[in-house]
């Protein structure tokens, strides 16, 4: 396939199919994230990259034989390796033996929230999630260092790349408040159902990306100035780390939320909520910053 536009759209469809597969494998939170990130944000980012680098690919000169042999050999070795692996759905597989039973049995009691994924994410494995948040922040800073958020005639308010599309404007005006409301719902309902800071941040960012696409970059930058975004990202990481430091100063281990209130379960609730807010702010601002950086860049010959 020489048309990279088609490649990106096919990848988006593939992502959606993967989300459906995750749903079937009981991973509702993951399906949610994949649908929002893989099918939504990744597609938009790749398309804005294609706008800068050109849509058509040249036919490669190399013969595909050598890569095919390498791939076939590796694949065969991997398939041979799976022959000893536990079967799909086997409840006695090693993956279900170590810490998972404790998370499943004690999670709702110790952390006090029905959604075990959120409990494990923010409380039991809070260190990991803190690390991931910092990685996202670092990636955002790397993109900003590489590209920067450019200003130019195309980012003045009132200018759009697609012209004045009345139908899109009306529908998007109706949809954006709903999207933002839904983002807030996902953010604060993550304790009880599928959702949490990661998904909410992405949904919030897609709301603003939609606004940017339809109303033009200038208008979007009036709503969320680009200068704010790195600071907001840092603020999110700070909230997360601050909760950890608070519990450290209160005489408990880092990120032990039971220090936040007299009742441990109540403290867990508060801690998870604060941490998820921090994650949400970081994810939102970094994804929007990456989008501004890629979409706002002027094309060079």
């Amino acid at each position: 396939m020489r048309d990279l536009f088609g490649v990106v759209i096919l990848f988006s469809i593939y992502s959606f199919m993967t989300a459906a597969l995750f749903m079937d494998l009981d991973a509702v939170d993951v399906a949610f994230t994949e649908a929002a990130v893989g099918a939504g944000v990744t597609t938009v980012l790749m398309l804005s990259c294609l706008r800068l680098t050109g849509r058509w690919e040249r036919r490669p000169k190399h013969s595909p034989l050598l890569p095919l042999i390498v791939v076939a050999t590796t694949g065969t070795a991997l398939v041979y390796g799976t022959l000893d692996a536990p079967l799909l759905g086997d409840p006695n597989a090693p993956a279900h033996q170590h810490v998972a039973p404790r998370y499943i049995e004690q999670g709702p009691i110790e952390v006090g929230m029905p959604n075990m994924v959120t409990a494990v994410l923010a409380s039991y494995r809070g260190y990991d999630t803190f690390g991931e948040t910092v990685v996202i922040f670092t990636a955002g800073i790397a993109v900003l260092l590489l590209l920067g958020i450019q200003e130019g005639p195309h980012t003045r308010p009132g200018r759009t790349a697609i012209g004045d599309q009345i139908v899109l404007r009306v529908v998007v005006k109706l949809l954006i408040p709903l999207i933002l409301l839904y983002g807030l719902y996902v953010q604060f309902h993550g304790d009880f159902g599928a959702g949490g800071g990661f998904q909410a941040g992405v949904i919030f960012a897609t709301g603003f990306i939609l606004y940017d696409l339809v109303f033009g970059e200038g208008d979007a930058r009036l709503v969320v100035p680009p200068d704010w975004l790195p600071r907001l990202g840092a603020l999110g990481v700070l909230i997360y780390g601050g909760v950890g430091l608070y519990s450290l100063f209160a005489g408990k281990p880092f990120l032990d939320y039971s220090a936040l209130a007299h009742d441990p379960v109540h403290g867990q609730h508060l801690g998870v909520m604060l941490v998820e807010i921090g994650v949400g702010i970081t994810v939102f601002s970094i994804i929007l910053a990456i989008f501004y950086a890629l979409a706002g860049r002027a094309r060079r010959a």
Binding site: I162, G163, L168, V171, L175, L178
Partner: protein, 114 residues
């Protein structure tokens, strides 16, 4: 009552699935881009609400029902808009609709496939 609901729901689901399949066939078999957008957009806009309505008839009165109603409203708002935007983008990109002004003996060969 429940038998009636089941039958109604089955009819909705069947009609929705049928429209989905015709939409898919149209997407592949139609001669030019705008006809394909028509096939995909028009049938999907009716098929998805039909499928969702069929599912709603199977549910109790609960929060889930409300969520499905909201999904339906969302689909009804976004689907035609997306189709409209795609068609308008194609027109803006310089793709001309296929107009039949040739001889009626044309055997329906895909003359101007985009």
């Amino acid at each position: 009552m429940s038998l009636l609901l089941d039958m109604l729901s089955a009819a909705c689901l069947l009609a929705g699935s049928f429209l989905c399949i015709t939409g898919g066939i149209g997407l592949i078999r139609m001669p030019d881009f705008f006809a394909r957008v028509h096939a995909a957009g028009v049938t999907e806009t009716l098929a998805t609400p039909l499928l969702l309505f069929g599912l709603m008839l199977q549910m109790d009165w609960s929060l889930d029902l409300l969520k499905v109603v909201m999904i339906m409203i969302f689909v009804l708002a976004t689907n035609p808009t997306a189709t409209h935007a795609t068609a308008k983008a194609a027109l803006h990109g310089g793709l001309k609709p296929l107009v039949s002004e040739d001889d009626p003996n044309d055997t329906g060969e895909p003359s101007s496939k985009p």
